[in-house]
Symmetry: D2
Subunit: 259 residues, 4 copies
């Protein structure tokens, strides 16, 4: 029986009069879209357009909650919130997308923390747990997107939430399963064909080879790709084409989890 | 059989470090709370606290959507949105409160537009219709709070939404059922006992006497009271006490509509 | 002696991670830049970059104040501010740009209201007067950009402020000197060569020909061009080239006014 | 010759419809006001009212810049800005207050970083230096308020800026001159008379006694008092009265530095 995987990407990151990324193109490539909820990007109109097009193209949508930081695009860590405050901030954003999704005839099926909040959730168990509790408070059916072996995976597990395990198509890995910091050389993969080949191998081997050459066994449910530049869109397309050519089935993870 | 009515008030209008009103006191008086959703006031923490206490005290909650206008507290009219943009802005805010309400173990059962948006919905059918469509897109069970004879009542009717009819305890009425502008003398009633007596009479007579002396027949499902000043809280308390003393049953309108 | 005129354009309208327009290209074309001050676009980093490059290229800068409306890009009219509130909102934004300009080694020499605020200032004397008082409160040397015959010109005159008279390169005119509404056919000129030729004629004739064919005499100190699309940049370039070819001197208006 | 000192307090921390503190009362007590600039609190109207009343009462004003964080009142640390971004954020806020101050007929004479930004400036030299450069870029005459021996004092010194040395009336000190964390017992002094007596002794001794009993010699130019609660106002009043009774002259520090 063939392999099945999901491709996910951040989307709906325009705001008001400003456009970011090429969502139309990406929604032809991915199977799950992480939709900005207004705190780092996205406004009700952008959210609606993203949900509507995703619905039309059969792409699943999830909330992409962030710290409130329009000016910093959610890429700055904000210190000082209590865990309860993080829970509520997450629940607010998920609910907001659910309201918009209902209007677009679509359904929110997953949650993935954005930017700085997402990065902190990989390494800070308290924050990861708070996010997971925020998700669970809204619905126990929402699927968390987690990094194998990191805090957000443990958080979803502890919270009793369904979750999927994600790898990044264009990022190098540390031996502990974390992403190599962008500040280090080789952290980001720029060659589309290389990235596509690597992703296929990870899927087939059910393993990630780290920057040091170590092989870590991982189950892979979804592959994160980017769409914020023309080059990123081309890489996402190359990955999709390579997987399809190799007989891999691309499908929203929420459909597979339900089976 | 005795009379039954609901008392509603705007609540959750604090923001971050700033406090407004006395929600604790008001939640002992009213039966329905209109909860700010972050656009004119309210933040996820304030919304949660309001929903949680309302749940504990048996007070129903509704979304209180506004134009995005923290600095103006939603009291300024913003021109230039298309009807579709208004729909989405409303759906976003209702959804956000639903996410928070779920966390608090409570349920959003109504919607009432705030401030400038609410005022425009009384007199501008296009905006009123857009708000009603925004409500309906999220859920056809959400109850609209409308002014008898004004645009928001027609909008709810046209949208096929359940709705309740509201009178204001402290405001004088024009002959067409609109509120007398605050700029005119006598627009606002300041005497608590007078207001309480007047509200009771409106309920018993199923009619409002306008500033000119005209009597308009109206069905009254809910009475709007305020809690933003100590005087306002005292008036709300006086109204509750007067109604109770007269044998009127105070009950969230969503329970009555369900019957 | 040859003709002299200024070319002005709105600039610094990026925000955080979002880019708008091609400021680098436009700063090679115009002689005065209207810099967004954070209320509809622009953030301290964008403002600094704009001021710095403008300084390097000898382009004058002015504040481009707006109603606070990031989500609507300042294109929505906000009703409900008192004149005094408008004055303060304007003074805040001018001061903010002055702080940033000082850091960039540049000087703020003019003010032009943005978007909806700018449009209202053409037709509402009270708002135009409030904006002029806000400008004057910060400095009596700041030059207002005004439309000949409209409210903002009268406001600058009444306030005793220096001002320049502006025409729009790509907009048709009503007989009263107002712009033809964008909703009407023919309101916007799309042909770059036609626009360039028309601008030259307006300068040489010291007159504008309206949509109805009427000729209005106007003194023209500055021509407004746009840079928000590649086509707009091309038109701005065509206008500059046509004027230069015809021997017109392009120079920041604040230099000419000082003479 | 008698002792002279300044009393400073954070002010103008209302926002839109929300009120904080009792600025009217505090402006009768202090000699310098740190005015919020819109990023954590304050809006153009609040800033104007604060500057105007301060002018009337002879109270000096300074900018109180913060990270952009209305919802967190600037009490949360935001990680991820480059030093240059911090410089610009500071310059923007100072400039904005200068614009408003000009309108109120007053002059901005000092700068004191607010909340989380202020706390970080005590212990992180890079951030403290960035803030100092932001101040200097706007004007080399602006006086920095610094903690003796901490990073913000070094930053002002390195930047060649005039600065004053501050002690906190109601906070216990560590042996290194830092404030005892609010999380520790005894960090905050609640007894007004005790605080007043302690402040007088610090002034007379030109020394602070730390929580451990160590005596640190410090020059004291200004004493920070609070006004956010009725108790805080009472303590500030007690301090002023005690100092006055002991013959200490209260005077804005910028007047003393000029001498």
């Amino acid at each position: 029986m063939g392999l099945t995987v999901d491709l996910n990407s951040d989307m709906g990151e325009s705001f008001g009069a400003w456009t970011m990324g090429n969502d139309e193109a990406m929604l032809d490539i991915v199977t799950s879209a992480n939709v900005a909820c207004g705190f780092h990007a996205g406004d009700p109109n952008v959210m609606f357009a993203t949900a509507r097009i995703a619905k039309d193209k059969g792409v699943a949508i999830g909330a992409h909650p962030s710290w409130p930081d329009l000016i910093g695009f959610g890429r700055r860590v904000i210190h000082g919130d209590s865990p309860a405050e993080i829970e509520r901030m997450v629940a607010y954003q998920i609910g907001a997308l659910m309201g918009i999704a209902a209007m677009a005839g679509h359904t929110v099926t997953h949650v993935k923390a954005h930017g700085a909040l997402g990065n902190v959730c990989m390494v800070d168990q308290d924050v990861a747990d708070a996010v997971a509790r925020g998700v669970r408070a809204v619905s126990r059916d929402l699927i968390s997107v987690a990094m194998p072996g990191l805090c957000n995976e443990r958080a979803a597990h502890k919270a009793g939430l369904p979750y999927v395990r994600e790898v990044f198509a264009d990022r190098a890995y540390e031996d502990n399963g974390a992403l190599v910091s962008r500040k280090k050389p080789g952290a980001v993969i720029h060659d589309a064909d290389f990235a596509a080949e690597r992703v296929l191998r990870m899927l087939q081997d059910r393993a990630v080879t780290t920057a040091s050459g170590k092989v870590i066994a991982v189950e892979i449910d979804t592959i994160c790709v980017h769409g914020d530049t023309p080059t990123a869109v081309a890489m996402a397309r190359a990955i999709r084409d390579r997987l399809t050519a190799a007989g891999v089935t691309l499908r929203p993870f929420h459909e597979t989890l339900k089976v």
